[in-house]
């Protein structure tokens, strides 16, 4: 689905992402973890087009996306959530989904869908997403008036509303309590079961280990490990990166 090859991004002398090879297969939940400043968010920004790579290539569903604009990548089927929630605050919950709806119909139906009210099928899709996020009763509230957890859920379904095949979730559990994280885990699984591929960037280890099929670990912009949660947990380099080299030596 997504193939990064020797992808690099340098800021001045800092190699935020350095020759990263990463393959995300269709239908899997891939975790991307690493200590602070290891290049996780930069990787997301490279995949979505916020930054242009300094070197390397990116392929999505077989086609090169490294020169595409952000909105073009989104239209191809890559959607994301943000580490610090970025909703359309003065739009209602419903309008947030409406703005994100991707239109594939052509002709009069497409015109109606794109610019006017929208066809029944698309409205139904939005309804389903609202139910999914338990926000149906708040559809007419402004996004900025929602509680924190609700805003996170809205951002998640706004990304899903674009009909994306690949969802990049940038620290979706940040600031959530245990119960909310439990709900989030179920929702991530459910999104995958609907046929989506997910790249999860997260600090919350319990969530990552519980939900991911495979995990890639970054440190200083380089990949230091990749494998199933169990493999990654037992990797010496990963332990060193997280615990510090001294502790590992002591162990």
């Amino acid at each position: 689905m997504l193939e990064l090859s020797k992808l690099s991004r340098h800021f001045g002398g800092v190699k935020a992402v350095d020759e990263l090879d990463l393959v995300v297969n269709k239908g899997e939940i891939m975790g991307l973890i690493g200590p602070n400043g290891s290049g996780k968010s930069t990787t997301v920004n490279l995949i979505t087009g916020v930054y242009r790579p300094s070197a390397g290539t990116m392929h999505f569903k077989g086609s090169d996306i490294s020169q595409l604009d952000l909105h073009q990548r989104s239209q191809l089927g890559i959607a994301r959530t943000f580490q610090n929630i970025r909703l359309f605050g003065n739009l209602t919950v419903w309008q947030n989904l409406w703005a994100a709806r991707v239109v594939r119909e052509t002709g009069w139906k497409g015109f109606r869908e794109r610019w006017l009210s929208g066809a029944a099928a698309a409205r139904e899709h939005s309804e389903e997403l609202l139910e999914f996020a338990d926000l149906a009763h708040k559809r007419d509230m402004l996004a900025s008036q929602l509680a924190f957890g609700e805003q996170r859920r809205l951002e998640l379904i706004r990304a899903a509303a674009t009909d994306a095949e690949l969802l990049l979730l940038d620290e979706p559990a940040a600031g959530m309590n245990a119960e909310e994280i439990h709900d989030l885990e179920a929702r991530i699984r459910s999104l995958r079961d609907q046929g989506r591929t997910i790249l999860l960037i997260e600090h919350h280890m319990e969530l990552v280990m519980g939900v991911c099929d495979r995990i890639t670990v970054l440190n200083f912009g380089r990949k230091i490990a990749e494998g199933t949660p169990l493999q990654v947990q037992q990797d010496a380099q990963v332990r060193a990166a997280y615990l510090g080299a001294d502790e590992t030596a002591a162990v």
Binding site: S74, F88, Q95, W98, A99, W115, L116, R158, A161
Partner: protein, 299 residues
């Protein structure tokens, strides 16, 4: 009575001007180009009726279309920049347009003498309305009919998906792009529509004023244009209309007895409004933010 009819004309035209800025502000852009588009509409429509003897409505449409086309062309490069730089660029654009008309001399001999823009002397003799026997009242009907059409169209547009996309872009450009919205299309379409509405307003203005000159289209006009929707609040169109009535009707005319002190009061009142209702006069949720903040602090 004539005084009020004249005032109603000014309010109507400034409402159109404010609505043109409303379109652009919706996508989060602060543009001081509206005065320039207004000038283009005024000169083009004026030349259409005087030199080429077009019927009024066609001339107005032509003025709006030329202003729209210019906005479209200017929109592409200028909307790549944002914030203060866009303010500077659009201010420069308005000045370029004004200076273009300051220098434009295109006089054509007709039966009644030479007509057309005469450089710094201005462009007089736009006498379509008087020669066709339009009364002030009828001109008012025309202006307010146009205001009604534009208001209703924008109201419908705001409720369509276009309005939602514009607002989304105005709220957060990065998030908007991330859900597949093409920023250039959204911004340029809003800019072009704003240009067309400003051009329409300019065309009407030229005909009721009968004499226009570059000095009418200074930077103050563009400032007023964005002041209306900001003061009225972007969430409703009625806010813009209300702000025009407030500024043109109350502050500029109603307080005329105060002489030069009026300008000072004008500034004070705008500051007060911004403090009490920072998101505009008519905003949702309708609450006084100062009181709200005070209460939150007391808790």
């Amino acid at each position: 009575m004539d005084f009020y009819l004249g005032l109603a004309q000014i309010i109507g035209i400034h409402t159109l001007l404010g609505l043109s800025a409303w379109c652009v502000l919706h996508t989060g852009q602060v543009s001081l180009a509206q005065g320039g588009f207004f000038a283009i509409g005024a000169y083009v429509a004026g030349m259409m009726t005087t030199i080429w003897h077009w019927p009024l409505l066609l001339a107005l449409a032509m003025g709006a279309m030329v202003a729209c086309a210019v906005a479209f062309v200017v929109g592409f490069p200028s909307l790549r920049i944002k914030g203060l730089m866009l303010v500077v660029a659009t201010t420069a654009f308005s000045e370029i347009i004004r200076l273009f008309f300051f220098n434009l001399k295109y006089r054509v001999e007709t039966e009644g003498g030479a007509v057309g823009p005469d450089g710094s002397l201005g462009f007089g003799g736009i006498r379509y309305l008087p020669t066709h026997g339009w009364s002030t009242f009828e001109v008012n009907v025309l202006i307010w009919a146009l205001v009604a059409v534009v208001l209703l169209s924008l109201w419908a547009l705001d409720r369509s998906r276009v309005g939602t996309l514009w607002r989304a872009v105005g709220e957060d450009e990065l998030a908007a792009q991330s859900v597949g919205i093409n920023l250039t299309t959204a911004k340029v379409s809003a800019f072009a529509l704003g240009g067309a509405i400003a051009g329409l307003a300019g065309g009407v203005y030229a005909h009721y004023a009968t004499h226009i000159e570059h000095g009418n289209f200074g930077i103050l006009l563009s400032t007023f244009a964005i002041a209306y929707p900001i003061l009225g609040g972007l969430s409703s169109l009625a806010g813009t209309l209300l702000a025009v009535v407030f500024i043109q009707g109350f502050l500029l005319e109603g307080l005329r007895f105060m002489g030069d002190w009026r300008s000072l009061l004008f500034g004070v009142l705008i500051v007060v409004v911004m403090l009490v209702r920072p998101n505009g006069l008519l905003t949702r949720p309708f609450k006084l933010s100062i009181l709200h903040k005070g209460r939150a602090g007391a808790e």
